[in-house]
Symmetry: C2
Subunit: 119 residues, 2 copies
């Protein structure tokens, strides 16, 4: 099985909040060979543990967790590493990699700037 990707987002009580992340998951799915799922820190389901569990159940032996956050605060620096550490303990045979948040990727910042400049 190919590598599974978890898009990790904050979550919100507002259902519509998730729309850009769902669009991102669909766009990314067309670009990669493995499964792409979304997980939420709070207010929405599934949580990270559940999303990783689903990928493992479907045979994933390698999983990337991608924080879909622009700024990195305590959610990224404290909460997420703790959740990932727990997932590694729960799935010792699965390679779980934690990416830098997307806001640290220069191509993403460049694309946002270009989109704003066009607007």
């Amino acid at each position: 099985m190919s590598e599974g990707i978890v898009l990790f987002a904050h979550g919100s009580r507002d259902r519509e909040w998730a729309r850009p992340f769902e669009t991102l998951a669909a766009t990314l799915t067309a670009k990669v060979t493995g499964p792409v799922v979304i997980a939420y820190l709070e207010s929405m389901q599934p949580a990270l543990a559940e999303a990783i569990g689903t990928l493992v159940q479907h045979g994933a032996t390698s999983i990337r967790v991608v924080p879909v956050f622009l700024g990195a605060g305590s959610h990224i620096k404290e909460d997420l590493p703790r959740l990932v550490a727990r997932a590694r303990t729960d799935h010792p045979k699965v390679a779980i990699r934690l990416d830098a948040p997307i806001g640290e990727q220069s191509t993403v910042i460049e694309a946002i700037a270009a989109a704003i400049a066009r607007g």
Copy 2:
């Protein structure tokens, strides 16, 4: 004077959180003719009213407020429109335009997906 742009971000108690937004402001400044400033909803300064006041003091007669948010929850749907309405009342001669959040821009979502797929 050219149009001023306010990049409106959430804010955090963690100073490093602002880094992607500062990079974005610098990148955008190189692409547009008018001034670009950042404003924060909470925990960081300046607030939106202050950022808009600064642009107006420097002669801006037209201002775009760009929500640098991926998902749109109550901050974007309730807090921000209220802040913008207050700014319009405070500066009746200035045209203040509120953009859709960047998460609704397809080029931004496409760039994020491409960056993740490359990773």
